[in-house]
């Protein structure tokens, strides 16, 4: 085995890649102002990434909430504290499940769509044609999609949480017989603004991570059918790992505070 080759492949290549993504992020942020100056493009992308993911987010939010209601009830009734189900469900959804599951779904639904769309634009010379018309594809194509994703995910997480709470209530209160008043009042008393903010910050960070990975992979996809397919796969894998890693780091940071 060539030791230099090993160092290059194992250490330097990933660092180079992280550096390239960092530079790409800076380039995107530099284009964010001009892109926001023409909000029509960004709004269109919020619709594409957000509104078009609503059904899957709502459906999964409902099921996650229902499971949370069921498992929470089973656990809490062992200690005779099933009235705290509302608090457990709310904290579980707001701080963890909402941002993480919604972000994973977002990576699979909107992230892949962004990567394949930009990758195909590259493969069919649309990005080159744009650059040849003296229009920067980063400003016109990539930055609006990135911003659209960053704006859409926190909104999707909010919807996910609301529907999830409804699902938990549906199972806990309607099915298992937890007192309605206790469910909502304990939640109201125990959930702090800082709990909500933790979820909001996570959803924004995940939104940046997912959207950045998706547009980076699409923009740098090899201009072939195989290249676009591989880039799409990389988007899902990288985003998923990144979401879970960032979730741990953020949770540790919040608990540390």
């Amino acid at each position: 085995m060539n030791p230099l080759g090993w160092v290059e492949g194992t250490l330097i290549a990933p660092l180079r890649r992280i550096g390239a993504v960092g530079i790409f992020l800076v380039q995107l942020l530099m284009q964010a102002g001009p892109a926001l100056a023409r909000p029509r493009l960004v709004v269109q992308q919020v619709y594409n990434a957000g509104a078009r993911s609503l059904i899957i987010i709502m459906l999964c939010g409902l099921f996650v909430g229902m499971v949370l209601g069921l498992q929470g009830f089973d656990l809490l009734q062992r200690f005779g504290s099933e009235d705290a189900l509302g608090v457990a469900a709310a904290l579980g959804l707001l701080k963890e499940l909402g941002p993480v599951v919604a972000a994973l779904l977002f990576a699979g639904r909107a992230g892949t769509s962004l990567t394949s769309e930009i990758g195909l634009m590259r493969a069919t010379d649309q990005l080159t044609a744009m650059a040849m018309m003296a229009v920067d594809p980063l400003r016109h194509v990539v930055a609006p999609r990135f911003l659209g994703g960053v704006i859409a995910l926190p909104l999707l997480v909010a919807v996910f949480n609301l529907i999830g709470l409804f699902g938990a209530q549906l199972v806990g209160v309607q099915l298992m017989g937890v007192d309605t008043g206790a469910f909502w009042s304990q939640m109201q008393a125990a959930v702090e603004l800082s709990d909500v903010m933790e979820g909001v910050i996570k959803s924004v960070v995940f939104g940046v991570a997912c959207s950045l990975v998706a547009v980076y992979e699409g923009y740098h996809a090899a201009p072939t059918a195989e290249g676009v397919g591989l880039a799409t796969t990389r988007t899902v894998v990288t985003s998923s790992v990144l979401i879970l890693l960032l979730d741990y780091i953020l949770t540790a940071a919040f608990l540390g505070n």
């Binding site: 634009m121 010379d125 649309q126 080159t128 044609a129 003296a134 229009v135 920067d136």
Partner: protein, 264 residues
Amino acid sequence: MVRVTDLHYGVGERRIFSGLDIEVPKGSITAFMGPSGTGKTTLLRLITGQVEPVSGSIEVFGEAVVGMRKAGIFALRRRMGMLFQNGALLTDLSVFENVAFPLREHTDLPEPLVRQLVLTKLHAVGLRGAASLMPGELSGGMARRVALARAIVMDPELLIYDEPFVGLDPISMGVIVRLIRQMNEALGITSIVVSHDVDELSLIAHRSYLISEGRVVASGSPEELRNSPQEVVRQFIGGHPDGPVPFHYPAPDYFDELLGRGKP
């Protein structure tokens, strides 16, 4: 209008150009011809500043492209139009919006004027009636004509056509040939046409460059090229499968390989 001097370019170990010299006079139609894989499209990418050469100089509109910053290159590109092999229309925009795209990006013209300009250019390529169609609804020839309308909507001084005749039926090909000539004669646009369709080029090109193995092997008017005694030119013009440009990609001896003595 375009001057390429002693151009050297390569990708990795592979040398694509080694000492290329080309001049495109203002108001002319100049053809770059050559066998597939000689780097004709790469030459266009170099001229338009999409890639940097290893050495040599490229001047467009009298300005050096090599080493120019992005803003400068974009300023140059505003003065040129490019027709891609596949049209490269933006698939999420209608035909009308595709042609209007450069106007909306670079000007603040009022909507009625944008509409008038777009319809004029679409009329010039015979596709005013297709303004509301989406790119997916167009045939290959129609897509290329829409792309041509888009390329001329900003009234460029230089128009670059990358393989404009590939995969077209004879009628569409005739239409494109006529349009290229019209753009040149009516609007005075300098044109560069990259192609290996000798017959079509001979109808429109004032001057042709035959590129092979990284350099210009012959240049002149279509008539001069037809009468050239050079073997490589005769092979290319005559369409002979073998000659100075080999039919076979470099490979070990055929029989040795069949008998398992060569490399697999």
